[in-house]
C-alpha cells in the first residue's frame, strides 16, 4: 500500500518504504537515550516505556499531556489517517521533548512494526478501537485504548482472547475507576452506607441527529480507506464521517459510547466484572426522523438491564451534555457522582462527611495511565483489563441490540448468548480486509 499524503516531515514514512528499509536491515533510528531523555530526566532509559500514539483526534489531544507528563514514558511515534493531525501531534510531542525525534506514520501498522515501541495509546474513532487493539496485541505491544473498546460483543470477546493469547497488558480508557469521586461512591456502596444496592441509575446526553447529505469525492489529505478501517466500504459523506458516532457501523450511538463508563462503574460496584446481567429491555426510544436525517442511532431512550440477583441497571439517554451522572440506589439511601462536575451527593448527606480523599477528576487520566505503567512493568492486570472492559461494554451493546430489535432479550453471561437468533447475529460484523487480524 503506497500512501499519497504529502508531508514536509522528513520523518514521514510510508508502509512500503518502511518494509523496504526493515527488509534491508537498515534500521530506522531507534530511541537514542541521550537525545531523548533531556538533562533533567530522573528515569534511566532502560526503565522507560516507549509509546506510540494511534489516532490523534480531539480525545488523543486531551490525554496526550497526561502521557507526556510521565518521565517513565518516551512518546516516540504517532500515527493517523489525517495528515493535519499527524503534523500537529508531532509538533506537540517534539515541543515537549525539545527535539524533532517523534516519527510519524500514516499507517499504524508501520508504527507497530517498530520493535522499540513497547506500548500504544489508541484514541481513534470508535470503529477502530478493537481492530487497532488486536493489531497491537498481535504485534506484541501493550495497550491503552479509549472506550468503547469494541463495537460488537464478539469483537470484544475476541479482544479478550487475543490479549490473553499474547499476555498483553491492556488498559481500557474507562478512567473513572482511577478517580477519587467514583472510588468514594463505590466504597460507600460496598460498605453498606446506602443499604443493599438494588438499582444503578445513570444518564448520558441526548444523541444528535444528522441531516441527509450526498456523497462527494474524498477530500485531499484524507486516507478514507484507512479511516473506514474494518467497516465495509461505503461512499464518502462528509457529515457522516464528521458525526460517525451517530451511525451503527462506526459509532453505535451515545448510549453505547458514553454508557460504558457507567456500566463499568456498575460492574465494579456490584462485583460482577467476570459476568453480567441476564435481561435487557428498552423503552421510550426516540429515533431520528428518516425523512430529514441520515443518522441511525437513538436520540433518546431508556435502556434497562437486570442481574440474576435482581439488581437493576438503567441508563437514561436524555438531557444535556452536562447532565450525566451515575447514582447507586440502596434500600437505605443513595449516592451519586455528577460526571461533569465530579461532585458527589448522597442521601443521607452525612455519608459525604466520610469523604477523606480528594483528587483529580476523570478528565485527568494520569492515575489511570500510571496504573497501566505499573502493570506493564509487573505484568499484573491493569484496573480495566480486557475482561473487565468487555463485560462493561457488552452490557451497553446488548441494550443497543434490544433497542434495535425492539424487544426484551435474555442473556446467558456464561455462554455469552441471547435467547434470540437475530440478537445473536447482531453480536458480530464481518470486518473488511486488510483491517483484520
Amino acid at each position: 500500500m503506497e500512501f499519497t499524503m504529502k508531508s514536509n516531515s522528513n520523518l514521514m514514512v510510508t508502509r512500503r518504504q518502511f518494509l523496504r528499509r526493515t527488509a534491508a536491515a537498515v534500521a530506522l533510528p531507534m530511541i537514542v537515550p541521550g537525545s531523548v531523555l533531556g538533562l533533567n530526566a530522573a528515569v534511566a532509559p532502560s526503565n522507560r516505556i516507549v509509546f506510540g500514539g494511534i489516532g490523534l483526534g480531539p480525545r488523543a489531544r486531551d490525554t496526550l499531556p497526561s502521557f507526556l507528563g510521565f518521565k517513565e514514558i518516551q512518546y516516540a511515534a504517532v500515527s493517523d489517517a489525517r495528515a493535519d493531525r499527524l503534523t500537529s501531534a508531532k509538533e506537540s510531542v517534539d515541543a515537549h521533548y525539545g527535539n524533532k525525534d517523534c516519527v510519524v506514520f500514516p499507517d499504524f501498522r508501520d508504527l507497530l512494526a517498530r520493535p522499540d515501541i513497547d506500548a500504544v495509546s489508541i484514541a481513534t474513532g470508535n470503529r477502530w478501537h478493537a481492530t487497532a487493539s488486536l493489531f497491537a496485541a498481535h504485534a506484541g505491544k501493550d495497550i491503552y485504548c479509549e472506550k468503547p473498546i469494541s463495537l460488537t460483543i464478539q469483537e470484544g470477546r475476541r479482544l479478550v482472547e487475543t490479549a490473553r493469547r499474547f499476555g498483553t497488558i491492556y488498559q481500557a480508557g474507562t478512567q473513572r475507576r482511577s478517580t477519587a469521586s467514583y472510588r468514594f461512591a463505590r466504597d460507600m456502596a460496598l460498605q453498606g452506607k446506602i443499604g443493599r444496592v438494588h438499582t444503578v441509575e445513570s444518564q448520558v446526553w441526548t444523541g444528535a441527529t444528522i441531516p441527509h447529505q450526498k456523497s462527494t469525492p474524498v477530500p485531499a489529505g484524507w486516507d478514507y480507506d484507512q479511516w473506514l478501517g474494518p467497516v465495509q466500504w461505503r461512499p464518502f459523506v462528509q457529515a457522516r464521517v464528521d458525526n460517525w458516532t451517530c451511525f451503527w457501523d462506526t459509532g453505535e450511538g451515545m448510549h453505547t459510547d458514553m454508557g460504558t463508563h457507567y456500566t463499568d462503574q456498575m460492574q465494579w460496584v456490584l462485583g460482577t466484572d467476570n459476568t453480567g446481567p441476564v435481561e435487557f429491555e428498552t423503552s421510550d426510544i426516540i429515533w431520528p426522523d428518516p425523512v430529514k436525517c441520515m443518522s441511525e442511532t437513538a436520540i433518546s431512550g431508556t435502556f434497562r438491564c437486570r442481574y440474576a440477583s435482581g439488581i437493576k441497571g438503567v441508563i437514561y439517554q436524555r438531557g444535556g451534555f452536562t447532565d450525566r451522572y451515575i447514582r447507586y440506589i440502596g434500600d437505605e439511601g443513595w449516592i451519586q457522582v455528577d460526571d461533569d462536575t465530579d461532585v458527589v451527593t448522597a442521601n443521607p448527606r452525612s455519608i459525604l462527611n466520610l469523604k477523606t480523599t480528594g483528587g483529580p477528576s476523570w478528565a485527568k487520566a494520569g492515575g489511570h495511565i500510571g496504573n497501566l505503567l505499573a502493570s506493564i512493568r509487573s505484568r499484573q492486570p491493569a484496573l480495566c483489563h480486557p475482561e473487565v472492559a468487555h463485560r462493561a461494554q457488552s452490557i451497553v451493546q446488548a441494550m443497543t441490540i434490544s433497542a434495535r430489535l425492539n424487544r426484551e432479550l435474555k442473556w446467558d453471561p456464561v455462554r455469552e448468548e441471547f435467547n434470540d437468533e437475530a440478537a445473536n447475529r447482531m453480536m458480530w460484523r464481518e470486518s473488511r480486509v486488510p483491517w483484520c487480524v
Binding site: 496485541a137 498481535h138 504485534a139 506484541g140 482472547e161 490473553r164 493469547r165 499474547f166 499476555g167 498483553t168 466504597d187 460496598l190 460498605q191 441527509h212 447529505q213 450526498k214 456523497s215 465495509q232 466500504w233 461505503r234 461512499p235 459523506v237 457501523d249 426510544i285 426516540i286 429515533w287 431520528p288 426522523d289 428518516p290 425523512v291 436525517c293 441520515m294 443521607p348 448527606r349 452525612s350 459525604l352 462527611n353 466520610l354 477523606t356 512493568r377 509487573s378 505484568r379 499484573q380 492486570p381 430489535l405 425492539n406 424487544r407 437468533e421 437475530a422 445473536n424 447475529r425 447482531m426 458480530w428 460484523r429 464481518e430 470486518s431 473488511r432 480486509v433 486488510p434 487480524v437
Partner: protein, 677 residues
C-alpha cells in the same frame, strides 16, 4: 418509532404471507393487494437509494425485519425482497443495506444471490457481511467456491471470513494459500487456519512454522496459539501443551513466549506451581514478572505459602509485585506474608504491603499496621500506613481493633491512629473522639478535633461544641477552630445546628471561648444566630463586641448590611471600622451577580462614606465587578482623583467591558475617558 408513517406497521402477518404468494392478480378484489404493491414499491424505492435521499424506505424495511421475527412466511417474504435488492440494477448502497439486513434475517435462500456478489471485488465485502456469523454449510460452500476466482483484497476477505466462520472444510484450500507468494494472502490464510483450529489446521500451521518463512512467522505463531487455545478449551491438553512448549522457545517473540508460558501453567497438572517456581529461580528477566503475576490465580491451596517463601530471594521491585499477587489471593498465608513485609528493610516493599493490607482488609490487619505506624519515621510512609488503616472497610471487628490500638498507644502514634476513625461513625467512636479531644497531648487533641469535624458532626455537635467551649489552651483553640467550623457547616439539620451553637454560647461565660463560639455563627448563618450575633454587638466586653463584628463581616447574606454599615459609620474602634468595611465590600461584591438599583444605591453610600483613599480603593475593587451602567457613573468621577486613578481605570474598564453589548455608547465613552481621550 417516533417518525412513523410506516405502512407496514399496520399490516397483518397473514396478509404479508398472502402477498408473498404473488396474489397480485387479485389486486382489485382484495384490499391486501394494495399493500403487496407497497412492498414492491418499498423494495423499488430502496433499490434506488443513495446517500442524501429520504431514508424512510430503509427504516420501513428494518421495521419489517423486526416485525417478522418468529414468523416464517413473513420472514421469507422479506428475505425475497432483500434478495431482489442484490440485483445489479440496485445502487451499491442499497445492496449494502440489504446485506446488513441479511446478516440478521438471512437464510440459505439468499446464499445464491450473495454468491453472485462474491464474483466482484467491489461487493465481496458486503457479501461477507451478509453471511455474518450464522452457521450455514451452503454459505461456507459458496465462499470456498468463490476463492479460486477472487483476487487481491477480495480473496483475502473471503479467506478471513472462512476463518471467522471456522469452516473446517476450508483447511485444504487455505493450506495452499498459506504458502502463497503474496505475503499478505499467506498471512491472512494462516490466521484463518488458526481461527478454524482443527487438528488438520494445526498440522498445516506446524509445518509452516518449520518452513521458517520470516514474513509469516508472527502469523504462524499467532495461529498456533489460537489452535492451542482451542485444543486446551476442548480437553486436548496434551496437543495444546505440545504447541505451547514449542512457542515457549527463546527464539519466539516476547509476547508469544509470555502467552505460551501462562497457558502452560494453566495446563500443568499441579496448576503451574512448579513451573512458576522454576522460572522465579531462573532469574529470567522476561518471564519473572509474568511468573509473579501468575501467582494470583494459582489454584493450589499451598500456593501462597510456597511463593511467600520465595520472597527473600526476590528483588525489591519483585517483592512489590509478589505482594500484589498475594493480596489478590488474600488467604491466610498470603496475609501473613504481607504482614511480614511491613518489616522489610525496603521502604517500597513496606509501603506496598501497607497498601495491600488496606485493600484486603480485616481486623487482623489492624495491629501490624498500627505497629508499623508507630515505628515509621518517614512522613510519606506514615501517611501511606495511615491511609491503609483508614481504607480498611468498616465493620465491627475492624473498628474495635482500631479503637483498641488507639487506647493502647501514646503520644504521636496515638495521634497518627486517630484519623483512621474518620470513616467509621458510631456513638462509640464519637465518645472516644470527644475524650481524645480533651487530651493534654496537643497532637492527640488536634487529631481528634480534625476527625470530629468530619465524622462527628450531626448528633454529636452539641457535645463537640461543649468540648470546644471548655478549651483553655489558646494555641489549640486557634488550631481546631477551623475544624469545629467545618463540623458546624456540615451539620445537615439547620435548626439543630443553630440551637447547638446558641445554647453553647448561652452556657459559656469565659470570654475567649464566647468569642470563638461567635466566630462559628457565620458557618450556620440562620436568623436566630443572626439575632444572637446582633445582641452580642452590645455586650459589655469589648473583646466580645469585636468578635461579633468579625463574625458579622463574614455573614453569608445581605441581612448583615445595615448593622455593618452602622458600625462602619459609628465604630467603637478603627479595627471595627476596618472589619465592617471588609464585610460590606464582600457583600457588595457577591451581589454583583445580579446588579440592580438597590445595589447601586449601596455603592453610592459606600463612596460617600469612604473616609480616605484606601477605603475608596476597596470600594472600587468591588464596584468593578458590577455590570450595570450606573456603576460607570459612580466610578467615572474617581478617574480625576490621582490617588485612586489606577483603581478607577481598572474598575471603569471592567464595567465597560461587561456592559458594552447592551450599552455600547456609554461603555465606549467611559473607556475613552479612562484612556484619557
Amino acid at each position: 418509532m417516533k417518525s412513523s408513517n410506516f405502512v407496514f406497521l399496520t399490516m397483518k402477518p397473514q396478509t404479508i404471507a398472502t402477498l408473498a404468494l404473488g396474489s397480485i392478480l387479485f389486486a382489485s378484489m382484495r384490499p391486501a393487494t394494495a399493500q403487496a404493491a407497497d412492498l414492491s414499491q418499498l423494495t423499488a424505492a430502496v433499490a434506488k437509494w443513495e446517500s442524501g435521499q429520504n431514508a424512510e424506505p430503509l427504516r420501513q424495511m428494518e421495521q419489517l425485519a423486526r416485525e417478522s421475527n418468529g414468523k416464517r412466511t413473513e420472514r421469507a417474504e422479506l428475505e425475497a425482497a432483500l434478495i431482489q435488492l442484490l440485483a445489479p440494477a440496485s445502487t451499491f448502497e442499497a445492496m449494502r443495506f440489504a446485506c446488513q439486513q441479511l446478516a440478521v434475517v438471512g437464510s440459505d435462500a439468499s446464499v445464491p444471490a450473495l454468491a453472485r456478489l462474491l464474483q466482484a471485488n467491489e461487493t465481496i465485502g458486503i457479501a461477507c457481511l451478509a453471511f455474518g456469523n450464522r452457521p450455514s454449510a451452503k454459505a461456507d460452500q459458496a465462499l470456498r467456491a468463490a476463492l479460486p476466482v477472487a483476487r487481491d483484497k477480495g480473496r483475502r476477505q473471503i479467506i478471513s471470513t472462512l476463518g471467522n466462520r471456522r469452516d473446517a472444510q476450508a483447511v485444504r484450500p487455505l493450506a495452499l494459500l498459506a504458502r502463497d507468494a503474496d505475503a499478505a494472502v499467506a498471512e491472512t490464510a494462516i490466521l484463518a487456519l488458526g481461527e478454524i483450529a482443527s487438528e488438520p489446521a494445526a498440522k498445516v500451521i506446524a509445518e509452516l512454522r518449520k518452513e521458517a518463512n520470516p514474513a509469516c512467522q508472527r502469523a504462524a505463531a499467532d495461529a498456533s496459539l489460537r489452535c492451542a487455545g482451542q485444543f486446551a478449551k476442548t480437553g486436548k491438553a496434551k496437543a495444546a501443551a505440545g504447541i505451547y512448549e514449542e512457542l515457549f522457545a527463546p527464539s519466539q517473540p516476547a509476547s508469544v513466549r509470555r502467552g505460551a508460558f501462562v497457558a502452560l501453567t494453566r495446563l500443568d497438572q499441579d496448576g503451574g506451581d512448579q513451573r512458576i517456581l522454576k522460572t522465579l529461580r531462573s532469574g529470567d528477566a522476561l518471564l519473572t514478572p509474568v511468573a509473579i503475576a501468575s501467582v494470583r490465580s494459582l489454584r493450589s491451596a499451598a500456593a501462597s505459602e510456597t511463593f511467600a517463601r520465595e520472597m527473600p530471594a526476590l528483588t525489591g521491585e519483585e517483592k512489590v509485585w509478589m505482594i500484589e499477587s498475594l493480596a489478590a489471593r488474600a488467604d491466610a498465608p498470603a496475609r501473613a506474608a504481607i504482614i511480614g513485609s511491613l518489616n522489610s528493610s525496603d521502604a517500597r516493599v513496606r509501603r506496598a504491603a501497607a497498601a495491600a493490607l488496606g485493600n484486603i482488609g480485616g481486623a487482623t490487619a489492624v495491629p501490624p499496621l498500627a505497629k508499623a505506624i508507630a515505628a515509621a519515621k518517614d512522613s510519606d510512609e506514615i501517611r501511606d500506613l495511615g491511609s491503609a488503616l483508614a481504607t480498611l472497610p468498616s465493620d465491627r471487628a475492624t473498628d474495635q481493633a482500631i479503637i483498641a490500638e488507639i487506647k493502647g498507644a501514646q503520644g504521636d502514634p496515638r495521634a497518627r491512629l486517630i484519623p483512621a476513625l474518620a470513616t467509621r461513625p458510631s456513638s462509640q467512636v464519637t465518645a472516644l473522639l470527644l475524650a481524645e479531644a480533651g487530651s493534654p497531648d496537643l497532637a492527640v487533641a488536634k487529631a481528634a478535633y480534625r476527625v470530629l469535624a468530619r465524622a462527628g458532626a450531626g448528633d454529636s455537635l452539641t457535645l463537640l461544641l461543649q468540648k470546644f467551649a471548655t478549651l483553655r489552651d489558646a494555641a489549640l483553640r486557634t488550631e481546631v477552630e477551623g475544624f469545629v467550623k467545618q463540623a458546624v457547616g456540615a451539620t445537615e439539620n439547620p435548626a439543630r445546628r443553630s440551637a447547638a451553637v446558641r445554647d453553647t454560647l448561652g452556657q459559656t461565660h469565659e470570654v475567649e471561648s464566647r468569642c470563638a463560639l461567635l466566630r462559628l455563627f457565620p458557618a450556620g448563618g440562620d436568623a436566630a444566630e443572626f439575632g444572637a450575633l446582633t445582641t452580642a454587638l452590645g455586650d459589655t466586653d469589648p473583646r466580645v463586641r469585636d468578635a461579633a463584628v468579625g463574625a458579622l463581616a463574614e455573614w453569608p447574606d445581605m441581612s448583615a448590611w445595615n448593622p455593618l454599615f452602622t458600625i462602619w459609620t459609628k465604630p467603637d474602634s478603627e479595627a471595627q471600622r476596618s472589619l465592617a468595611l471588609r464585610g460590606l465590600v464582600r457583600l457588595a461584591g457577591e451581589a454583583n451577580a445580579a446588579p440592580d438599583e438597590k445595589l447601586m444605591a449601596r455603592y453610592r453610600e459606600l463612596m460617600a462614606g469612604a473616609r480616605d483613599d484606601n477605603e475608596l480603593k476597596q470600594v472600587l475593587s468591588a464596584l468593578g465587578g458590577a455590570a450595570h451602567p450606573e456603576a460607570l457613573t459612580i466610578a467615572l468621577p474617581l478617574l480625576d482623583k490621582a490617588a485612586v486613578r489606577a483603581e478607577a481605570v481598572a474598575a471603569v474598564t471592567k464595567i465597560a467591558g461587561a456592559i458594552k453589548q447592551k450599552h455600547p455608547e456609554a461603555a465606549q465613552a467611559a473607556l475613552d475617558r479612562a484612556a484619557g481621550k
